[in-house]
Amino acid sequence: MKEILVVDDEEDIRLLFQEELQEAGYRVSLAADGSEALRMVKQSRPDLMTIDIKMPGMDGIELLRRVREIHRDLPIIMCTAYGHFRQDFGTWASDAYLTKSSDLMELKEKIRELLSGA
């Protein structure tokens, strides 16, 4: 079973993602901020990460950069409520970039694609 690490500072979102992805057949672990996520990634490598961009403390882009230092080829999907973070060069290091939606079909499609293609 593939393990997905969901990083989001909002608990409700973490819960929604956890339930939906578990239902879709993944093992889901959660991190509420960047430093927690980094710690977890250092301990064990997940199969895929979703990172919220806007987070207090270390933001998603900083986290993305740090994770890439540890796991160069770990599939990462950047999720954001904003449409315009794409202009930030930092996000280009991610494998996908999604605007958050209550309909998680697109997210699940992207995860499936990344994990199967890998």
């Binding site: 979102i13 929604l16 409520a81 904003y82 794409r86 079909m105």
Partner: protein
């Protein structure tokens, strides 16, 4: 009382002396005295007969002067003739006691005794006559007459005494008679002289001279002939008396006759034996005597005065000659006077003619008419065949013909240098010149010689105050008339006046020209002033152009029929027609001018009136024509372009054939003549004014052009400042607009920031709400109504998310992140999201994708959003099913392949792409894109009935929506994304059937790095 009673013894000497002295002194009249002498002698000496003889002054013969016969007899005449001769010879008395006994005398028969006594009459030592007495009566017996006694000594003494008295008396009477004669002659001469002197006409003078001579001489015929010095002959002057007609008709020959002789010798001549003289002429056989004298004035022979007599025995005496000579002297003076008078009279007549002509010519002020008049009058005045007035051109140093009379066209263009020809010679020497044998003269000009038989030529310089104006030259052909020195003088007199007249006319012309110039300047100034005043009222360019064109066309202004104004458009490098004023047709012109002249309005009125009508007047064809002109500023683009390029006026007089005229532009003015002047502001040409006189065809003069140029210079400055003003105005409006926009943008930016903030804050909760609602809905599927509630929540959250997303997209500027993206994959991703709905609505899906490389640089998030919006709209339009057609196409930007030109029903593009030209290059201020070579066209079509035509224009406006649930932000966002990529959106609409949206994205160069953006 009888003598015998007083002197019975014979006469006593003293009483006789006394008696006779008293008797003879009683008269001084010789005619009375002469009969008295023999009668007194006979009475005193008692003689029967007394005969007085006097010596003839000329013949010296003793002629009987008078006689006395007591009984009326005539005897003793022959005896007395002899006795008187003896007495004269002896110079002493002769006493014959009885003639019968003296053989010397043949006595009359029957006389008994005949005594005779004859004494000489002495004056000084001369015997002037004799007095003879015959038959002395004896008075012893008075009864017997026969008692005769011889003359005795006493008788001799007494008669001698009487003779002395008689001689004295005769001498006295003769002296007195001579004095009286002289007095008579003098008074007659005086009278004749007065008669002659009172006449001034030569013919009358001659008549009076002849009449005077007749009176002086008492001859039958008198004539006067005049000497012709030139011809050396005597010409008929005047004649009177019998046979005067003969004289008049006489063929006079020099060398024959007495007159010719007198003329040659200049000596008077009396011919008392005319017929015997060598001077007798045939036809004058009746002439007996002639008397002839030359008529001299000083040493100069004037003529001959001649008289003749046909009376047999007539002789002219020296006294006659003296008288005739005195008359001739008077005649000479009178003839000379008459000639002088005639000359003066001629001169006066000439002067009068010159004066009359002068008066006429000085009234003429037109130079060319004047020259013609002068020429004609000079020809008439001097009875010349032809004449020319040459004008001196100081610049050219030559004479050119100003006018000619009686000469042909060959005169035109002739040119004489100083000294060339007669006229040139007269000009050179500044003096008149008379040539009487032209062909042989050194001044002859071959061309003139060729022209005809010109024989005599007269030239006089026209000089005004030492300044040579020209030459007047006259000539005659043939030999009819030769010019004389007098003619030259007359011409000189005339030339003086002509020069003054020419100078006057020139001065007049010059002053008129100056006046006209001043009037023109004044007009220019006043019009410019009017226009200046009109311009003060407005800085509005159109109004100003209107004022300028009104100034150019209004009668009080320049008065052109039509005028149009073009302005230089510098960025586009074209000359653009801005306005045209003028009637479109001849009828309209007549109507307008008729109205104008009947109202007599001033330029200011018209400008003011037209200004109020500006923009309200109906367009004229000429104005439309003017406004349609867009002329490239190239040197081969015609006269209008040339005027602007070279910055100088052009006048075209043969527009239909002038190679500079461009048929596409000024050629369409459809006139022969027009003029263009540049409108210049400082050194910059801002435009061109073109004018013509299409309808009245008045030629455009140099003055017009000059005035128009001055006018255009002024107008150019005004237009220049109006343009500057307009730019200022535009700039200030632009600043206002920018300020407004800035304000709007600031507001929008604030709004956008707030919206972005709200979106962010709302989105996460919405994701949670929606996400969990969906989960609930799944869990509760089948359990009604809870499952349905959850679905409703999920759906509404979905709608909220779209609103938030759209608002978020519009509320900030689009920042593109270009990534090489496969459009087909992008479409696939979008379709996946709608797969369930497509199936649910029974939509038939048609895909038509290009085989060309679908990868291009774009912002996938933005484009995906746009495609999603288009798909959502399409699906919403077909709730009951239909066909969704999705296509991609790579298009090259070429003519014919330009989109949006298919069906006639095509609707609007995205507000830019209506015409093929403008669709090539959409202009977006926010992002300036290079012109692409190729387009990727993504089309989304549905069969949902299309868009009603009336709202088609509005579908791209934000917040416009027809849907109950729509935000009205979908299509605006699509357009915004397209424009941000340098592309566009087009709509192909068939109302009631279907609609196709095409998204045009530029295909950049391959390998273009997105990071460069």
């Amino acid at each position: 009382m009888s003598p015998d009673e007083r002197w019975p013894q014979g006469p006593e000497t003293l009483p006789v002396l006394y008696e006779s002295g008293r008797a003879f002194s009683s008269t001084l009249d010789l005619d009375q005295l002469l009969p008295l002498i023999p009668r007194k002698a006979a009475e005193v000496l008692q003689a029967r007969t007394a005969i007085l003889r006097l010596v003839d002054g000329e013949t010296r013969a003793l002629r009987v002067a008078s006689r006395f016969d007591a009984d009326g007899g005539t005897a003793w005449a022959a005896v007395d003739e002899m006795l008187a001769e003896v007495t004269r010879r002896e110079a002493a008395p002769v006493l014959v006691p009885d003639l019968n006994r003296d053989a010397r005398f043949a006595c009359p028969a029957g006389a008994a005794t005949a005594s005779a006594l004859c004494i000489p009459l002495h004056a000084q030592d001369d015997v002037i006559g004799t007095l003879g007495l015959y038959e002395k009566w004896a008075y012893e017996s008075a009864a017997s007459a026969a008692l005769l006694s011889p003359f005795g000594d006493r008788d001799l003494q007494a008669l001698t005494a009487l003779g002395v008295q008689a001689a004295i008396a005769i001498q006295n009477a003769r002296l007195f008679g001579a004095a009286a004669q002289q007095a008579t002659e003098i008074s007659l001469l005086q009278e004749i002289g007065q008669a002659i002197a009172s006449r001034l006409e030569l013919s009358e003078v001659l008549e009076a001279v002849v009449a005077g001579a007749m009176r002086l001489l008492g001859s039958e015929m008198t004539q006067i002939r005049l000497w012709d010095e030139e011809q050396q002959t005597l010409r008929y002057g005047s004649a009177q008396g019998s046979g005067a007609e003969r004289i008049r008709n006489q063929r006079f020959e020099m060398g024959k006759g007495v007159n010719a002789a007198v003329a040659l010798t200049r000596q008077p001549m009396i011919l008392n034996e005319y017929q015997a003289s060598p001077y007798a002429l045939p036809g004058f056989e009746d002439v007996v005597a002639t008397i002839t004298t030359p008529v001299m004035f000083g040493d100069r022979l004037l003529g001959v005065l001649h008289s003749h007599s046909t009376q047999p025995g007539k002789r002219f005496a020296p006294a006659d000659l003296r008288l005739l000579q005195m008359l001739a002297t008077q005649a000479a003076i009178a003839i000379e006077n008459a000639r002088l008078f005639a000359a003066a009279h001629d001169r006066r007549r000439q002067l009068e003619a010159v004066r009359a002509v002068t008066e006429e010519i000085t009234q003429e002020l037109d130079v060319s008419t004047l020259l013609r008049l002068i020429t004609r009058r000079a020809v008439e005045l001097l009875r010349a065949g032809s004449g020319t007035v040459w004008l001196w051109d100081p610049a050219d140093q030559a004479l050119t013909p100003g006018a000619w009379h009686g000469r042909g066209e060959w005169m035109r263009g002739r040119r004489l240098k100083l000294g060339e020809g007669v006229a040139g010679a007269a000009a050179e020497r500044r003096a008149g010149l008379l040539v009487n044998d032209y062909a042989a003269s050194p001044h002859a000009v071959p061309l003139v010689v060729e022209q005809g038989n010109i024989t005599t030529m007269l030239a006089e310089p026209l000089v005004y105050r030492d300044r040579l104006l020209g030459v007047i030259a006259l000539d005659n052909q043939g030999t009819e008339r030769i010019f004389t020195e007098k003619d030259r003088q007359t011409l000189a007199l005339f030339a003086n006046q002509a020069a003054i007249a020419i100078e006057n006319a020139r001065l007049f012309h010059e002053s008129q020209r100056l006046t006209q110039e001043n009037v023109l300047r004044l007009r220019t100034i006043s019009i410019l002033n009017e226009i200046g005043m009109a311009m003060q009222g407005t800085m509005h360019l159109d109004a100003l152009l209107h004022v300028i064109l009104t100034g150019a066309t209004f009668g009080e202004g320049l008065g052109f029929n039509r005028a149009m104004l073009l302005l230089v458009d510098e960025p586009r490098n074209v000359l653009e027609g801005r306005m045209g004023i003028g009637p479109s047709s001849g009828e309209e012109a007549a109507q307008i001018w008729g109205a104008l002249t009947s109202e007599t309005r001033t330029l200011r009125d018209v400008i003011a009136e037209r200004a109020t009508q500006l923009g309200k007047q109906p367009e004229t064809a000429f104005d439309r024509f003017a406004r349609s002109l867009k002329i490239p500023l190239e040197s081969d683009a015609g006269v209008l372009a040339l005027t602007a390029l070279e910055g100088r006026p052009f006048r075209v007089t043969d527009a239909r054939h002038d190679p500079r005229v461009n048929p596409e532009w000024e050629g369409r003015l459809d006139v022969d003549e027009f003029a263009c002047v540049p409108l210049a502001a400082k050194a910059r040409v801002v435009g061109v004014i073109a004018v013509d006189n299409k309808f009245n065809r008045r030629p455009i003069t140099d003055q017009d052009l000059e005035f128009l140029s001055v006018f255009a210079a002024q107008a150019g400055l005004a237009v220049g400042s109006a343009q500057v003003y307009k730019r200022l105005e535009d700039a200030s409006r632009e600043i206002q607009r920018s300020q407004h926009r800035l304000l709007q943008q600031e507001r929008l930016a604030a709004l956008g920031e707030m919206a972005a903030h709200v979106v962010h804050e709302i989105r996460n909760p919405l994701v949670s709400i929606g996400g969990f609602a969906r989960r609930l809905a799944q869990r509760l599927r089948g359990r009604e109504p809870e499952g349905q509630y959850a679905q409703i929540i999920a759906r509404e959250v979905d709608r909220l998310e779209r609103i938030v997303r759209d608002v978020g997209g519009l509320s900030r500027q689009v920042h593109l992140s270009l990534v090489e993206t496969d459009v087909h994959e992008l479409l696939q991703e979008c379709l996946v999201l709608f797969a369930e709905r497509i199936a649910h609505q029974h939509i038939q899906l048609r895909m038509a994708l290009t085989r060309r490389n679908p990868v291009l640089a774009l912002d996938p998030v933005q484009v995906k959003q746009a495609i999603l919006n288009l798909l959502a709209n399409a699906l919403e339009a077909m709730p009951e099913g239909g066909t969704l057609s999705i296509g991609t196409q790579v298009m090259r930007e070429e003519a014919g392949q330009v989109p949006n030109q298919a069906t006639g029903q095509l609707g609007t593009g995205d507000g830019v792409a209506m015409s093929p030209e403008s669709s090539i290059r959409p202009v977006d201020k926010l992002t300036e894109w290079p012109r692409p070579d190729e387009w990727m066209v993504i089309s989304v079509a549905d069969t949902g009935g299309g868009i009603p035509q009336d709202i088609l224009d509005e579908v791209f406006n934000p917040f416009f929506t027809t849907k109950e649930a729509g935000t009205g932000l979908g299509l605006p966002l699509v357009r915004r994304v397209a424009r941000a990529h340098g592309g566009r959106v087009e709509v192909e609409n068939r109302p009631g059937e279907e609609v196709t949206f095409r998204l045009y994205l530029p295909v950049g160069e391959t390998g273009r790095s997105p990071r460069t953006f």
